[in-house]
Amino acid sequence: MITFLVRRFLLAIVTIWLISVASFVIIQLPPGDFVDTYIAQMAASGSQVSAEAANAMRQLYGLDRPMYVQYGKWIVRVVQGDFGESMEWRRPVMEVIGDRLWLTLLLSFAALIITWGLALPIGIYSAVRQYSFGDYAFTLLGFIGIAVPNFLLALGIMYFSFRWFGASVGGLFSAEYTLLPWSLGKVWDLMKHIPLPAVILALGGTAQLVRIMRANLLDELRRPYVVTARAKGLTERRVILKYPVRAALNPFASNIAYLFPYLVSGSVIISIVLGLPTVGPLLVESLISQDMFLAGTIVLLLGVLTVAGTFISDLVLMWVDPRLRRQMD
């Protein structure tokens, strides 16, 4: 088990390193270095940057050195918590991002909980009542969940709520709370707003998980030990819940590592459609205006937090599922 943990941990480190390289590439890719961009921006707003100042900046950021040295300097500063300045906002990147990062994670996590909360009972129902009306209905819903990209779903819901109720369903806070500092009332307001986007986000993953759960449980239900359990006179409920369901739970455990990144990805897009104050809209804005430090930092932080979240969920699942611990040895 220790070897497994170490392996997972090393893998997480490698992933984070890859993400940091990708973020650095994103920061570097636009033509010219960012001092050029900075000078152009200053010129556009009427102020001048002298050649010495520009050179000093280049030296400070090591832009006159080879690429890997630049990466090294950048990563050292990042590890110290200095992510640079947003050119668009003229403020430190972390200040611009603010609460958005945590709201993104909260939304993704809520979607994860909903995915599980829906997929488990629906999967069990569909398998136990195979070919019933409910099974067909859920299968149909599931296919729609897979086929409709979540941004289209968000768009559709926005449109119909606008048509029928004349109100926008977007946002994570009511108007009166948006600018207020955190308070219990604001947290409650957030709790009221988060279910809708979380459900939209969760639907695609839920549909896939239901199908896997259904198939696995059907396989389990045909096994002789189920017949034995029935023959011994256990109640139907106990027969199903005690063994086959627990055995069929495997996909929940093995899929989480891929479900969470998928949800974080999806949250970026639906946040833009629904106007949620997560990092999604900020990322797209910063990319369009080529505010590269901001964009690179968001990609980096999202990636790192995703990897960390996946790692933690692995630990939790191992703690919960004894079979997983066994497999690792």
Partner: protein
């Protein structure tokens, strides 16, 4: 043994046919019984057919802007004339000058009929060197501002139906190109991983795990935004395709590796080895045919993911950029909820997206079930 798919033939020849059929034939016979998958196959063949003939099916120049015809509601075709004869027509448009802004706006004029003509000449188009000005339908004697707006027009007065046709071609083929690249990567890396094993396998497996745990959309967005704005439409198209497929090959690699590993243990592979067949011959002559159908199934499940990726990227304004037209580019216009309430037909590009993705999913499911013909 029963052969339900050969019921009409005599049993002796059926058994013979079953015994001598190739793997792909067996898969096809099983697949044919999957009704939903067959319907999906037909839908997809039609969709790709439309995509290939996109220009022929357009009614207006998809790039032609006209501020005066902005946001015209979808126009229905009236098939029969007043006397009941088959003579399709649409109502013409009449220009009304707004007395406040002095802008010319077109509205539907129900007093004037414009008759349709099949195989009409309109703007010139060319595809892969093939050039023509022939279109399926056109107007017989149009006046200024007249047009066939089957799905209405957008803000710039461009015909949505024609744009949708061209967009279908772009989006469907970006999926195919992307999947080809992913498939190549998947087969090479998955195959190498399975054949060599050991530390090669270890590295490829870890690489797959790493790629799969990346949050893809932020990365795509970042890479796509970094493409130089000076690039041509074609360059952007290929760059986007490559970006999408670089992160999507992992599932295919896993399928290929899994199949390779399980087939390695099969008796017929051992038999071929004992008979002295070379490694290359065993792979291509014996192993590849028996998992080709699995790969086709995996591909048809990977395609919709590709199409959604492109659509999402373009929808956010970071994928294909105008003047390129794709489903995502069209849906970008539908982002603003106020505009959408005014012109809901802007959302029409969502319909083919959903149908094609659904069809690919059903097709993939059917193929996956059929891929084990001896099962």
């Amino acid at each position: 043994m029963r052969f339900p798919f050969l019921r009409r033939r005599s049993t002796a020849s059926a058994a013979e046919r079953y015994a001598t059929a190739t793997q792909l034939q067996l898969t096809w016979w099983r697949f044919r019984r999957h009704r939903l998958a067959m319907v999906s196959l037909v839908v997809l063949v039609l969709a790709y057919g439309m995509a290939i003939m996109a220009d022929f099916l357009t009614t207006m120049d998809p790039h032609d802007t006209n501020a005066a015809t902005s946001y015209i509601a979808p126009q229905g075709i009236h098939w029969r004339d007043d006397n009941g004869a088959f003579r399709p027509y649409i109502y013409g448009l009449k220009g009304v000058r707004d007395l406040k802004t002095f802008k010319l706006n077109y509205t539907v004029d129900t007093s004037r009929k414009v008759y349709l003509q099949f195989l009409a000449h309109n703007y010139r188009w060319s595809v892969l060197g093939f050039e023509s000005d022939l279109h399926l339908v056109g107007l017989r004697n149009p006046q200024r501002g007249d047009g066939i707006y089957l799905l209405g027009t957008d803000q710039l007065g461009r015909d949505l139906w024609s744009r949708l046709m061209v967009a279908t071609r772009v989006s469907l083929f970006i999926g195919l190109t992307g999947v080809s690249i992913s498939l190549f990567l998947g087969i090479v890396l998955g195959g190498i991983s399975a054949i060599y094993g050991g530390w090669v396998d270890l590295i490829v497996q870890r690489l797959i795990e790493v790629v799969r745990s990346l949050p893809t959309i932020p990365l795509w967005l970042g890479l796509a935004a970094a493409l130089p704005s000076s690039w041509s439409v074609t360059q952007i198209y290929f760059a986007i395709t490559i970006i999408i497929s670089l992160l999507a090959w992992t599932d295919l690699a896993r399928v290929v590796r899994g199949k390779f590993l399980s087939l390695k243990e099969e008796d017929f592979v051992l038999a071929a080895e004992l008979a002295g067949a070379s490694q290359v011959r065993i792979i291509f002559r014996h192993m590849l045919p028996s998992f080709a159908s699995h790969i086709i199934a995996a591909v048809s499940l990977a395609l919709p993911a590709m199409i959604i990726s492109e659509t999402s990227l373009s929808f956010l304004g970071l994928g294909l950029r105008p003047p390129a037209i794709s489903w995502g580019v069209l849906l970008q216009d539908a982002q603003n909820i106020q505009t959408l309430a005014l012109a809901p037909w802007l959302l029409s590009a969502a319909v083919p997206v959903i149908f094609v993705i659904l069809a690919f999913n059903f097709l993939g499911d059917g193929l996956r079930d059929a891929a084990d013909p001896y099962g």
